[in-house]
């Protein structure tokens, strides 16, 4: 089993005919994901990558039965695209776009509040259930089916952890890149609750970074609710205060969001906290007694 996405996921692509949309839709199709079509306003009625293009998400959902959407739309229009997908009732919305203004995401968060949809991202690499469904921009070939759930704010650190696991012969159930922005749809806590409830996920890797306190919130819940092994890492231990480290959300400000506070909270919750990302795979192996 897995969480959120599997071989029954029917994916639509917003920003389908753009360069990023085309490239990554192709990668997902080659990976075996069921991509049912896409949306580019004004190009409805045409075909792209052998699949239908629609003017609106609502049309696409009606015609194709899509139940997930991935968004490759430029930052000024991405918030609108998320709301369009939510309004069309798409159950899982994955927004890859980096650079959406915080003000727009405040509006999106309000908009989503009373709708039964889940947003992953924005500014995230997506989500993958190995050999079943790839949504986003992750390099599919490094993943291997198995029983480790991964949740991470960073794309390349996800690949780093997964690369180590796969090299050790340890596969993954589902890997969720939750994104590096200050306001995101699915938090560490949300992802960990899902992975904890999945019987085929036997251990969880939680990768965080400086900024905000979502890792602390997740750690508090893990302490009381999770018996599966959790292995963690926090990036940005040497980052200077007051500087944004690449991700819009990766900033230590006013003394909050520090790596050391997150690591202390995670350690207190019984999480195995790795000093460097180089040891994530090995620690998983040890915790599982492999």
């Amino acid at each position: 089993m897995s969480v959120l996405v599997n071989k029954n996921t029917r994916l639509l692509v917003q920003g389908y005919t753009g360069a990023q949309g085309t490239f990554h839709a192709t990668q997902s199709i080659n990976y075996g994901t069921t991509v049912v079509g896409g949306v580019t306003p004004g190009k409805g009625g045409t075909k792209h990558l052998d699949r239908p293009v629609f003017n609106t998400v609502a049309d696409c959902v009606k015609e194709t039965g899509a139940n997930a959407s991935v968004i490759f739309v430029p930052p000024p229009f991405a918030a609108d695209s998320i709301m369009e997908a939510a309004d069309a009732g798409v159950a899982l919305i994955v927004c890859i776009t980096e650079g959406i203004p915080v003000r727009d995401m405040i509006a999106v968060k309000q908009f989503l509040k009373d709708k039964n949809v889940r947003l992953i991202g924005p500014n995230c690499p997506g989500i993958i259930t190995p050999n079943e469904c790839r949504i986003g921009i992750m390099p599919g070939h490094i993943f291997k089916p198995g029983n480790i759930g991964v949740v991470s704010r960073s794309g390349t650190l996800t690949y780093e952890a997964v690369g180590q696991l796969s090299a050790l012969g340890i596969g993954q159930s589902t890997c969720i890149g939750i994104g590096g922005d200050p306001i995101i749809g699915t938090t560490h806590l949300d992802a960990i609750q899902l992975l904890n409830a999945d019987p085929d996920t036997h251990a969880i890797i939680m990768v965080g970074e400086i900024g905000g306190n979502n890792e602390e919130i997740a750690a508090a819940w893990i302490k009381d609710n999770v018996t599966k092994p959790v292995i963690g890492f926090i990036a940005g231990q040497t980052a200077p205060e007051g500087r944004r480290m690449g991700h819009a959300g990766a900033i230590v400000a006013g003394g909050s969001g520090k790596a050391e506070d997150k690591m202390a909270a995670m350690t207190a919750a019984g999480i195995t906290v790795c000093a460097t990302p180089a040891e994530i795979g090995q620690k998983v192996k040890e915790r599982l007694g492999l």
Binding site: P101, V102, K109, T156, G163, G212, T238, P240, G254
Partner: protein
């Protein structure tokens, strides 16, 4: 993007936040003219982005035009050192000359994002003029908070609650509430990522005013505010960071001697961490991005190598979309074109790693090729010694 106090005040004034009368001065002559116009009893304030200017000697209250000129001569051009500038300080290129005002009470107003709720929060405190982090640490009960409801803004009742709560006398509460609502509106409309008025002052005559203004604008929202582009002060930024920004490279200069070139913000941070863990000091944060091309890699290399402190370079790439062979070609070409004077350690993993390693091995350069991140960090730390 950070902007100067005088720029922030000008924006806030447009929204109806009362600010003192004042003028920006780039020269002593301009400062003199401003002081004369304002009647001589003025405050001369250094305009740099860092806080703590008063303690560093960057703010002077003077009674006459002559004293204002003396203060301007002293402050303009000085290397102002504050707790936020680092020991090298920041050169002062602009002054704000402002009317001096009889202060009754110093208060604090601020707005920031609460990530968990996804809403902005308005904060007010009776403890103005101090570092708000200190207040939050020692006397958190002295910081009052109201959630700003998206689409509604700060409501009148919330503003009055805050104003009464921080001890503003009844006669001034309406003016203070009006200023707070105006600040919240400005914050929303100009896409702030931080706004702080510290101190927000109550005058002897009962008026209220923003005596300082720290405004940061969300970089991601700059496309909505093309008029703000001119508010950027390049003199406040590190020259290498300015150069890197021209090539869409995410570069932050640090104090160490091991340059890092990485793809992805998370891995870039983790690379700095592992360099430190191996006993070295990172010279920078650099995320070349997931889809870096050869040109970007070359420019990244050039920028890294122009930092005189750099003794070795650590290239750490997990090739996902960015293929290792493309990276290797970029590095080899850059090394050929720029000439390399320091040891380079490369750790590559992921897509086309074998081809990438072959290109490096056949390049004729003596790159250190690492087996894993930890080995790479250890190698580069040794190389830098």
């Amino acid at each position: 993007m950070k902007i100067h106090e005088y720029q922030g005040k000008a924006i806030l004034a447009r929204y109806g936040v009362p600010v003192p009368k004042g003028k920006v001065a780039f020269t002593v002559e301009e400062a003199e003219a401003a002081a004369r116009e304002l009647g001589g009893f003025v405050v001369v304030k250094a305009q740099i982005h860092a806080g703590g200017r008063g303690k560093g000697g960057g703010v002077k209250v003077v009674k006459t035009v002559e004293d204002a000129v003396a203060a301007a001569q002293k402050i303009l051009g000085m290397q102002l050192v504050t707790h936020q500038t680092g020991p090298q300080g920041q050169k002062v290129g602009r002054l704000l000359v402002e009317e001096a005002l009889p202060i009754e009470k110093e208060l604090y107003l601020g707005i920031t994002l609460d990530r968990a709720s996804g809403k902005n929060v308005f904060m007010a405190s009776s403890e103005g003029g101090m570092e708000i982090e200190e207040v939050a640490h020692h006397t958190p009960e002295k910081i009052l908070k109201e959630v700003i409801e998206p689409g509604i803004g700060l409501s009148g009742y919330q503003a009055r609650k805050l104003a009464f709560g921080i001890g503003i006398p009844a006669a001034s509460v309406n003016a203070a509430a009006k200023a707070m609502i105006a600040l919240a509106k400005a914050y929303d409309e100009i896409d702030c990522s931080l706004a702080e008025i510290n101190p927000f002052i109550l005058l002897k005559d009962g008026r209220v005013m923003a005596l300082d203004a720290k405004i940061n604008i969300d970089d991601n929202a700059m496309f909505r505010h093309p008029e703000f582009a001119e508010l950027r002060d390049l003199a406040e930024e590190d020259p290498l960071e300015v150069e890197a920004s021209k090539f869409s490279l995410n570069y932050i200069k640090l104090d160490g001697n091991i340059a890092c070139m990485v793809n992805g913000a998370g891995l870039a941070m983790a690379t700095m961490d592992i360099v430190k863990y191996a006993g070295g000091e990172p010279a920078n944060f650099l995320d070349v991005g997931g889809g870096a091309n050869e040109e970007q890699i070359k420019n990244a290399f050039r920028i890294l190598l122009s930092d005189a402190a750099v003794k070795a370079v650590f290239i750490n790439i997990f090739g996902g979309i960015l293929r290792c062979d493309i990276l290797a070609t970029g590095v080899v070409n850059a090394a050929r074109e720029l000439g390399i004077s320091v040891p380079i350690v490369i750790r590559m993993e992921g897509t086309n790693v074998a081809e990438g390693k072959k290109i490096l091995a056949e390049s004729g350069f003596n790159f250190g090729v690492a087996d894993g991140m930890k080995d790479g960090a250890e190698q580069v730390v040794r190389a830098a010694q």
